[in-house]
Symmetry: C2
Subunit: 190 residues, 2 copies
């Protein structure tokens, strides 16, 4: 799958009001606290190759951003390849849940990967006419809204980007404000 | 945890009869078909460092070795560090289940790890007075019995090895027949 994602700085409270005003067109799916540990590789510089290896620790927030965590923490291991379309931040991605977060960290440590930085955020996921809209409050970085679609073929990326731009417009945001730097990059450039 | 493991070649049918003759002292726990994919690393030679990275695909065999698989396949990612005690094959090990075997393989592929060899076997796990006894039928390699204990501290390894040797003796096997080569090594040396 190819992921098309556009992220802009935005006051999440204002955007949430716009989504609520959409009525049945918009639906809040779920919300999560995420602690993302990014790793450095022993054999190449991910900063140079523009790859990422991440171990994410996720806890549900059933009442949205700012509410108390509910349920247990789950962990997900993700590899993100280099950008294949710079305009839309499109990457090839592989992601699997892991049943033992400490053991997964142990595997990576044994192989020579080392934790480089940690990004902590709270997210609300919404669906607006089939497009995923994510409200993000990122510790030490700020508030952002991401619009995201996944398509199976690289040939569908342009059309998906058009839908993403239109979705941003509908909730009062401008794709020209796009921030291409990852939260990790924003955190580390402070 | 430190794993103490002694493996000897043995006719698994004969050993199973001895375990059954132990009555309530021995209990068959479960049986599984395992397809183990071993990876080469991009940045060091696991053959030289004596490490291993494995993605295991496991399917339950509720009626033991030779029976039809039951239930779905699960996948487990394991890192094994170098030997810390050559006599008992003791290693530090990190192991986690993964919820998407194909994605886990995709993560490893993205990071530059490549499948090197695949070992397929059927295993029956027994417990004999608290010690794990495993009967293994390994495709293209042969039949073996492994006796295994896990202890939390490296200082407990000698005592655990003594229990492993005594357990082998009890089921008619001799620790002097120990095969220290892994199934992967045995497969690749043919």
């Amino acid at each position: 799958m190819y992921e098309v994602e556009i992220k802009v700085p935005a006051a999440v409270g204002t955007v949430r009001e716009r989504l609520v005003a959409e009525g049945t067109n918009a639906e809040r799916r779920d919300a999560r606290r995420q602690r993302d540990v990014y790793y450095d590789a022993p054999h190449r510089s991910f900063a140079e190759t523009d790859e990422a290896l991440r171990l994410r620790h996720e806890t549900p927030l059933s009442d949205g951003i700012g509410s108390e965590p509910t349920g247990g923490t789950e962990a997900v291991m993700t590899y993100k390849g280099p950008l294949i379309d710079d305009a839309s931040k499109t990457r090839e991605e592989h992601e699997t849940g892991v049943t033992d977060a400490d053991a997964a960290a142990g595997v990576l440590d044994g192989l020579g990967f080392t934790p480089a930085a940690t990004v902590s955020k709270e997210r609300e996921f919404w669906a607006l006419d089939g497009v995923t809209v994510t409200l993000d409050v990122v510790e030490e970085v700020g508030e952002f809204v991401e619009v995201e679609l996944a398509v199976p073929d690289v040939g569908d990326v342009d059309e998906a980007r058009g839908r993403a731009v239109a979705t941003l417009d509908r909730i009062g945001l401008d794709a020209d404000d796009q921030v291409r730097t990852s939260y990790l990059g924003l955190l580390c450039s402070q």
